[in-house]
C-alpha cells in the first residue's frame, strides 16, 4: 500500500503546556503529520505521567507510558514559577499556531498565560483548554477528578454486572477519547483560521464531552423516567450477545447475533440444529427474553473449545465473533501485525515498542517520528535556533534555574 509522508502540518507549531494524557493525545495527532509540537515541562512540577508504568533500565524514570503517548513530540524544560520562564513561554507562543493546556482552571491566568494575554502577543492563536468541568461553573476547580470523571458523568452506571454492581474502567479511558475529540475541534478551528485569519479559544469540559455519548439513555429518563443501568455484556436488542468461557485460563469468546438468519447460521455452525427449532429462541424477542437459557447452552458448547478456533469457525459462517484478547495476545496477534499496529523505535536507553497511529490514511499516513522525548531534550535547540537566544545567555538562564 502506497503511503506518502506529506508532512501536512510541516508549517504548524504547537506549544503544549499539557500534562498526563489528554493534552498529549491532542498534540501528537499533529506531530505525527509533521507539526512541531513542543511539550513544556519542568523538574520543579514534574509530570507524573513519566513515573507511570515500568521505566527503561538505566534511565531516570523514563516510563514506557510517556515513551508511548508523547511520541513524535519535542520537550523543552522551562520553569514557569520564574518570571523569565514565563517570558520565554510567551516568546514560544508568539511563534506558535496552537496552544494546548489542561491545568486546573485558573492556573494559566495566574501564570499570565491566559488566552486574553496570549492573544495580545499572537492575535490569531488558537488555544484549547481541557479540564474536568470547564473554565466556568461551580465545580470548575473541584479536586481530584482524573479517573473519577467516569463516575460524575454516569458512565460507570452503564457498565458493570448489573444495576447494583457497577464497575469502573481501571484507567482514565476518557483521556484518549477526549484527546481525539479535542484534536477534532482544533482541526475545525484551524480551517476557520485558514479561511478568515481568525483564531479562537476552545474550552473542553471533559465531563460534558463524555456525556455527549449518552443521548439515548438520557432520553429514556426524559421520555419514561427510566434510569438505565449496566447489563454486563448483554445488549438491548440482540441475543445471544455475550462473552462465553472457553478452554484455558481466563479465556473467553464474544458472540453477537442480530438477526434470525445469523441465529440459524450460529445453530448450523455449532452443529446444534435443535436450537434452531426450539420455540424459546424462535425470534429476536424470544431470544432476548430467554437469553439466560441461551447463554447456558452456548457456554456448554464453548467451554471445551479454543476461543480462536471458535471465532474462525463462526466467522466462516458469517457470525460475529472474536476472541477476548489479553495484552499478550493483542501484542502477538497477526491481524494487528498486518496493520502495523506496533513498532520498535530507538531510544537513548534501549529500544522501546510503541503503538502506531490507528487511522490508516491512503494518501498521507501519519507516522511515529520517534519515542517520547527525555525531559528537556530540545531545550537548547529551541532556545538557540528558534528564539535566537545566544548560548552564553542560555547558560545564564540555566544557572538562574529558569530551565529546571
Amino acid at each position: 500500500m502506497p503511503r506518502h509522508d506529506e508532512n501536512v502540518f510541516g508549517n504548524l507549531r504547537v506549544t503544549n503546556f499539557g500534562w498526563f494524557w489528554v493534552a498529549t493525545v491532542m498534540g501528537n495527532i499533529f506531530a505525527d503529520l509533521g507539526a512541531e509540537v513542543v511539550k513544556v515541562e519542568s523538574r520543579t512540577s514534574f509530570d507524573n505521567a513519566r513515573a507511570t508504568t515500568v521505566s527503561l533500565a538505566g534511565s531516570q524514570g523514563e516510563g514506557l507510558f510517556t515513551i508511548n503517548v508523547q511520541h513524535s513530540m519535542k520537550s523543552i524544560q522551562l520553569n514557569l514559577a520564574r518570571p523569565q520562564g514565563v517570558s520565554i513561554a510567551k516568546e514560544m507562543v508568539q511563534q506558535s499556531d496552537v496552544v494546548i493546556e489542561n491545568y486546573r482552571p485558573g492556573v494559566m491566568e495566574k501564570l499570565g498565560l491566559s488566552y486574553a494575554e496570549l492573544r495580545k502577543i499572537r492575535p490569531d492563536i488558537i488555544m484549547v483548554s481541557a479540564s474536568a468541568y470547564g473554565q466556568v461553573g461551580p465545580l470548575r476547580t473541584a479536586s481530584g477528578f482524573g479517573t473519577n470523571l467516569a463516575c460524575v458523568t454516569g458512565m460507570d452506571t452503564l457498565q458493570g454486572y448489573d444495576k447494583d454492581e457497577p464497575r469502573p474502567f481501571n484507567i482514565a479511558i476518557l483521556d484518549p477519547m477526549n484527546g481525539v475529540l479535542g484534536a477534532y475541534a482544533l482541526l475545525a478551528a484551524l480551517r476557520h483560521r485558514a479561511r478568515t485569519g481568525e483564531g479562537q479559544y476552545i474550552d473542553i469540559a471533559q465531563a460534558e464531552a463524555t456525556i455527549g455519548m449518552f443521548g439515548a439513555p438520557l432520553l429514556d429518563y426524559v421520555f419514561n423516567k427510566r434510569v438505565q443501568h449496566a447489563i454486563a455484556n448483554h445488549d438491548l436488542t440482540m441475543a445471544p450477545h455475550n462473552v462465553y468461557r472457553c478452554t484455558g485460563d481466563d479465556a473467553w469468546v464474544t458472540i453477537a447475533i442480530a438477526t434470525d438468519a445469523e441465529w440459524r447460521r450460529l445453530c448450523a455452525a455449532t452443529g446444534n440444529e435443535t436450537w434452531a427449532t426450539d420455540e424459546r429462541f424462535a425470534d429476536a424477542y424470544l431470544r432476548l427474553r430467554n437469553q439466560r437459557s441461551l447463554d447456558m447452552l452456548i457456554t456448554a458448547w464453548t467451554l471445551n473449545r479454543n476461543a480462536v478456533d471458535i471465532a474462525e469457525l463462526l466467522q466462516s459462517h458469517g457470525v460475529a465473533s472474536a476472541p477476548v484478547l489479553n495484552v499478550a495476545q493483542v501484542a502477538e496477534d497477526e491481524h494487528y501485525k498486518d496493520r502495523e499496529s506496533w513498532m520498535e523505535v530507538p531510544h537513548p536507553f534501549g529500544n522501546a515498542v510503541v503503538y502506531t497511529v490507528p487511522w490508516k490514511m491512503s494518501g498521507t499516513q501519519p507516522r511515529v517520528r520517534g519515542p517520547g522525548p527525555l525531559v528537556g531534550r530540545d531545550t537548547q535547540y529551541y532556545l538557540q535556533e528558534l528564539l535566537g537566544i545566544p548560548e552564553a545567555q542560555t547558560d545564564k538562564l540555566a544557572a538562574e534555574k529558569v530551565l529546571d
Partner: protein
C-alpha cells in the same frame, strides 16, 4: 449569526446505528452540510428506542434522534442500479463520504471506496469497520462489544478478576470510532488543501482501544518485561483508598493518592479513632495491604449518607471523591444547569427533546444544535430536485419503483 468552522464542507453519510452517524453528527454540529442517506426502510437505529411513553414509533427513537440531529435526510436504495447511480451523482458534489457498511457490502455493489475515489480523486472516503479494511481479519463481522473485547480493553481493565470481562459503557467503542472518524476526516481535509487529492481512511474499531488505550499503557511494558496486568474489579490500583464504594443511595468513588488527600478523607469522616491505627498511617500503597479492613471500617459512615452529602463533605476537606451519578441525576445537576449544558430541540413527532449540549465551546465558531434529526426521506425533494435536478414526475417514478421512500 456566528460563523461556522465547517461552513461549506459537504458530507454524505451512509451510516447505520452509531459509529458513522456519530462521526457525521460531530461535523454537522460545527456547520458542515450533512446529508444522511438511509435505505428506504430507514436506519436500524429508528427501531432501537427509547420511545416516548414506550410507544414504538420510527420517527421517535431516542438513539436515532440523538446521533442524527443537525442533518438533512434522504432515502435511497443503493442496491438498485438507479440508486447506485444517484449515490454517485451525490458524491460528485461531496467532500467527505462517511460509511460503516458491513465488510464486503459496498464491494458487492460495485461501490467500493477505491472505485468511488477513482472517478472523483478529490473525494475523502472514511470507512469504519469492526476490524478495518486491511489485515487478515478485515472480513470479520462484529459490533461494539466484539471490537471492544478484541482490543484487550475488557480483559485488561473492566470487570472482576474471577468473573467475565465486561464491555464498555453505552456502545463506547462505536462512539470512540465516530470521534476518530470525524477527526481523521478533518486531517484528510487539511491534507487536501496541500495536495489537491482526497484519500481513503480506514478506521478499525478494534484498533482504537488497542492503540490508544491498551497499547500505550501496557503493550510497551509487556514487550519490555514480558508480563501484563489484568482487570481489577472495583479497585483502581494497588493502593487505598481507591475504589467505588456503596453508600446510602448509590455509590461514591474515593481515590486519595496523596498523603494530604488521605488526611482530608479522615477529617471528612469526623476523625474516627480507627483511622489512627498504624496499619492506615503509611503511604497510599502501604494502606492498600489493608484495603478490605479499611473499606469495612468506612462502610457504616458511608451507608448512613447520600452520595451528594458525601461529595459535599469531601469537597470541603479537599478529599477526592465523586458521586456515581445516574442518567437521571445528570439532568438535575446544578453544575451542568449553571453552565446551561443540556439543550432542547423540538421534534415534530417526539416533541421537546433534551439532549447533551456542546462537547467543546469554540469562542469564534460556536457549536450549535440547529435542527432535530430528519424524518425518513424528509429532504428528498430538496436534495434530488434541488441538487441533482430531478423533476417531480421523476421523483414519483423513483418512489413507485422503491428507489426512494
Amino acid at each position: 449569526m456566528a460563523p461556522k468552522a465547517l461552513e461549506g464542507v459537504r458530507v454524505l453519510e451512509y451510516g447505520s446505528f452509531i459509529a458513522a452517524p456519530f462521526a457525521s453528527r460531530l461535523m454537522a454540529d460545527l456547520g458542515a452540510t450533512v446529508i444522511k442517506v438511509e435505505p428506504p426502510v430507514g436506519d436500524r437505529s429508528r427501531a432501537f428506542g427509547p420511545f416516548p411513553h414506550d410507544v414504538p414509533e420510527s420517527e421517535a427513537s431516542g438513539l436515532f434522534l440523538h446521533v442524527n440531529a443537525n442533518k438533512l435526510g434522504v432515502t435511497l436504495d443503493i442496491t438498485s442500479p438507479s440508486g447506485a447511480r444517484m449515490l454517485k451523482a451525490l458524491l460528485a458534489t461531496t467532500d467527505i463520504f462517511v460509511e460503516n457498511c458491513e465488510p464486503g457490502y459496498l464491494e458487492g455493489l460495485g461501490l467500493s471506496p477505491s472505485k468511488l475515489r477513482a472517478s472523483n480523486p478529490r473525494l475523502i472516503v472514511t470507512s469504519l469497520r469492526p476490524f478495518g479494511m486491511q489485515g487478515r481479519h478485515s472480513h470479520y463481522r462484529g459490533d461494539d462489544m466484539v471490537a471492544w473485547h478484541a482490543s484487550g480493553a475488557g480483559q485488561g481493565y473492566l470487570g472482576d478478576p474471577d468473573r467475565e470481562p465486561l464491555r464498555g459503557a453505552w456502545h463506547f467503542t462505536d462512539h470512540f470510532a465516530g470521534i476518530c472518524a470525524a477527526m481523521a476526516s478533518m486531517l484528510a481535509l487539511h491534507a487536501r488543501e496541500a495536495t489537491g487529492q482526497g484519500q481513503h481512511i480506514d478506521i478499525a474499531e478494534a484498533d482504537l482501544m488497542a492503540l490508544l488505550c491498551t497499547g500505550p499503557t501496557r503493550i510497551g511494558v509487556y514487550h519490555y518485561v514480558g508480563t501484563y496486568l489484568s482487570r481489577q474489579g472495583k479497585l483502581h490500583a494497588g493502593g487505598a483508598p481507591a475504589a467505588l464504594l456503596p453508600c446510602k443511595d448509590g455509590f461514591v468513588y474515593i481515590h486519595a493518592y496523596e498523603g494530604h488527600q488521605w488526611e482530608g478523607v479522615v477529617k471528612a469522616m469526623g476523625d474516627p479513632d480507627w483511622a489512627k491505627e498504624p496499619m492506615f498511617s503509611g503511604s497510599f500503597m502501604e494502606r492498600g495491604q489493608y484495603r478490605d479492613e479499611l473499606y469495612a471500617l468506612m462502610n457504616d459512615w458511608l451507608m448512613s449518607r447520600t452520595k451528594k452529602e458525601i461529595f459535599e463533605i469531601f469537597q470541603r476537606h479537599r478529599a477526592p471523591c465523586a458521586p456515581l451519578n445516574t442518567m437521571g441525576d445528570l439532568l438535575f445537576d446544578s453544575n451542568f444547569q449553571s453552565r446551561d449544558f443540556f439543550r432542547s430541540v423540538k421534534h415534530p413527532v417526539a416533541g421537546a427533546l433534551t439532549l447533551p449540549g456542546a462537547p467543546y465551546q469554540l469562542s469564534a465558531t460556536p457549536w450549535a444544535l440547529a435542527r432535530p434529526a430528519p424524518m425518513l426521506g424528509q429532504d428528498n425533494e430538496q436534495v434530488y430536485c434541488g441538487l441533482l435536478g430531478f423533476s417531480h414526475a421523476e421523483m414519483s417514478d423513483l418512489h413507485r419503483a422503491g428507489v426512494i421512500s
